[in-house]
């Protein structure tokens, strides 16, 4: 039942992606609405999947990378719905649907079996740490989309309303993400102090999360103090999201550490 709903969710997101692409080519607002409706259906299924997982394991579904990816897909689509739904021409919706689909599809490669929660994860800090990181990462994923599309805009149209909107959207989304990834970073540190006796141990995941944080610190200082806009902040935002992806997924596979909760 649970895995079936998960597969259905992935296919609905894939369908939403196709519909968004069709909307881009048709250039009709109704097509975008239809695609958004399909994405909304995917969102409902995604929520149900997490609810089923919660019931299956008895823990909040935040405890391994498999559950985190499903949560990430959900939050990304929710943020899209809140922040971007009205101004979308279909391109960003397509990117969001693709990210949600890839997250769930990729999650299906991980071990889905139910395991007892290891003692280190039985802590109230897990809720704040993981959920704030997931909200932050989802927001950064959207900023990555906005910056990525911005970088694809031809130079002659770089001052168009569309390009400026993308630039502003990326900025706002990074500003939204920053408090969440800071809360995630600091609560993780507090939790490490309670569980392991040190608040910072230069574990690869900790180091990578600090690298991501500093990249976005550069972005914000560049925009605020140097008046950056246009291609430079877009490149920094894209680089920042690659660092986030490596922190979230890459570290688990390429570097050994204490955060390998597969």
């Amino acid at each position: 039942m649970y895995l079936t709903v998960l597969k259905i969710t992935a296919f609905i997101y894939l369908g939403a992606f196709v519909c968004f692409l069709a909307a881009v080519f048709l250039r009709k607002k109704t097509a975008v609405f239809f695609a958004q409706g399909m994405g909304g259906l995917g969102l409902l299924c995604n929520t149900y999947v997490l609810f089923l997982r919660w019931r299956q394991t008895g823990n909040l579904p935040f405890t391994n990378i498999y559950e985190a990816l499903i949560l990430f897909a959900l939050i990304t689509f929710v943020l899209y719905g809140i922040a971007w739904r009205k101004n979308d021409t279909g391109i960003s919706g397509a990117c969001v649907a693709l990210i949600a689909f890839v997250s769930i599809w990729y999650a299906s490669f991980f071990d889905t079996s139910v395991k007892h929660l290891m003692p280190a994860l039985r802590c109230k800090w897990i809720f704040v740490h993981v959920s704030s990181y997931m909200i932050g990462y989802a927001s950064l994923a959207l900023s990555f989309i906005a910056s990525g599309i911005y970088l694809c805009v031809p130079s002659k149209n770089i001052r168009s309303e569309f390009a400026v909107t993308l630039d502003n959207a990326a900025y706002k989304l990074i500003m939204l993400a920053m408090p969440f990834i800071t809360v995630g970073l600091t609560t993780g540190s507090v939790w490490a102090y309670i569980a392991w006796g040190r608040y910072w141990g230069w574990d690869p995941k900790e180091t990578c999360s600090l690298i991501s944080w500093f990249i976005y610190v550069i972005y914000i200082h560049g925009r605020v103090l140097r008046g950056w806009k246009g291609r430079i902040p877009a490149v920094v935002a894209v680089a920042g999201f690659f660092a986030v992806i490596f922190t979230f997924i890459g570290v688990t596979f390429f570097l050994k550490g204490l955060h390998s909760y597969r």
Binding site: T57, D111, T112, S113, V114, K115, H116, L117, M118, P119, A120, R122, C123, V164, T165, D167, N168, Y171, K172, M175, L176, M178, P179, T182, V183, T186, S189, V190, Y193, I194, A195, W196, G197, R198, Y199, W200, W202, P204, T207, C208, L210, I211, F214, I215, V217, I218, H221, G222, V224, L225, R226, G227, K229, L255
Partner: protein
């Protein structure tokens, strides 16, 4: 270049960007060469970050009353840096290996014994092993060169797809030790399909096929098994490290006063500025516990810095959300920091 121009340079936004970039490069290097984080070069870079923020503050770029978010967040970073320095220079966190019934007042930090102002007695050490909620197996169909992985629950018969086999997990040995070379002692005789003795049994499995029933303890070091006379189907138990929870019951004797406590993961004991953590245990006979003990003068600073940093960034988000205009060409947005 005179002193003031050096100070001006160190307190510039441009220098701040250089410092951020250097920190990122050092962090990337540290992923592959962890000694970087203990090098003096890394401390110098962090010192320059501290210096840059302080000089920017004096220049009026950071600490102005109107810029509350900036004041909070940058103060937070400064306090965190101070806390990190205190941890690096003053923290003495080490380990104590203590056997059941033993009393100790020394722990080891960097190879030297540190005396505690109290005594610790390990009254008891307990470990709970959790039975897996699900068991994973891979079945290999050697003729077809196919394999499939499935999960099943204890005492539930699972029908393997595509072949007339069922598999049931009958029992789980909670005391098995991976790699153990001592023959296990079972309360009841268990039939074994293979002639090889099973040294580290983890799971008792029942395989049924066309009326035949076979029971087999599956070993962690030798997880593959098949039915006698049928080499076309082979099973493999996919072992996952069992979840265990260990805890130490300790007594602290301090000037005639005794305090009892249970310490476990996520539940350390704080006593007289010392934090006492459950860290490790005797993996063979469960007769001793490894404790991490220490005091860190930087922790309070770090936690205070975290609070300020988060408060500053949260205030910044709130104010910026109200200030970012639709068109960032307006320089007014920069006044809303």
């Amino acid at each position: 270049m005179n002193f003031y121009s050096i100070v001006r340079l160190c307190g510039s936004v441009r220098a701040g960007f250089y410092v951020f970039s250097l920190i990122i490069l050092a962090l990337i290097a540290g992923l592959f060469f962890p000694d970087v984080f203990n090098s003096s070069l890394f401390y110098i870079i962090l010192f320059f970050l501290f210096l840059n923020i302080v000089l920017c503050a004096f220049k009026g770029g950071v600490f102005t009353p109107r810029k509350l978010a900036s004041v909070f967040s940058h103060s937070g970073v400064l306090i965190i840096l101070v806390g990190s320095f205190l941890t690096a220079t003053g923290s003495k966190t080490g380990t104590m290996k203590i056997a059941k019934g033993e009393t100790k007042n020394r722990y080891y930090f960097n190879g030297t014994a540190e005396k505690l102002p109290f005594e610790i007695t390990l009254s008891d050490f307990e470990i709970d092993w959790y039975r897996p909620a699900q068991y994973r197996f891979t079945v290999f169909l050697t003729k077809e060169r196919m394999k499939q992985t499935f999960t099943t629950e204890e005492k539930k018969e699972y029908s393997v797809k595509g072949i007339p086999y069922t598999i049931t997990v009958l029992d789980y040995n909670p005391d098995f030790v991976p790699g153990n070379r001592q023959p296990p002692v079972f309360s009841s005789a268990v039939p074994s399909m293979s002639a090889q003795p099973v040294f580290d049994p983890a799971v008792l499995v029942r395989v049924s096929s066309q009326g035949k029933v076979y029971d087999q303890w599956v070993s962690v070091s030798n997880p593959r098994f098949n039915l006698p006379g049928d080499n076309s189907v082979e099973f493999m138990y996919v072992w996952n490290a069992p979840v265990k929870e260990f805890r130490s019951s300790i007594s602290i004797a301090d000037k005639g006063v005794t305090r009892n406590a249970i310490i476990k993961v996520n539940s350390p004991l704080r006593y007289k500025g010392y934090m006492i953590y459950q860290a490790s245990y005797d993996p063979s006979y469960f007769q001793w516990a490894g404790l991490t003990i220490g005091r860190d003068p930087g922790v309070g600073w770090i936690l205070g810095g975290f609070i300020l940093l988060n408060a500053g960034i949260a205030i910044g988000l709130y104010r910026r959300a109200r200030c970012i205009p639709a068109d960032t060409k307006s320089r007014e947005s920069l006044e809303c920091i």
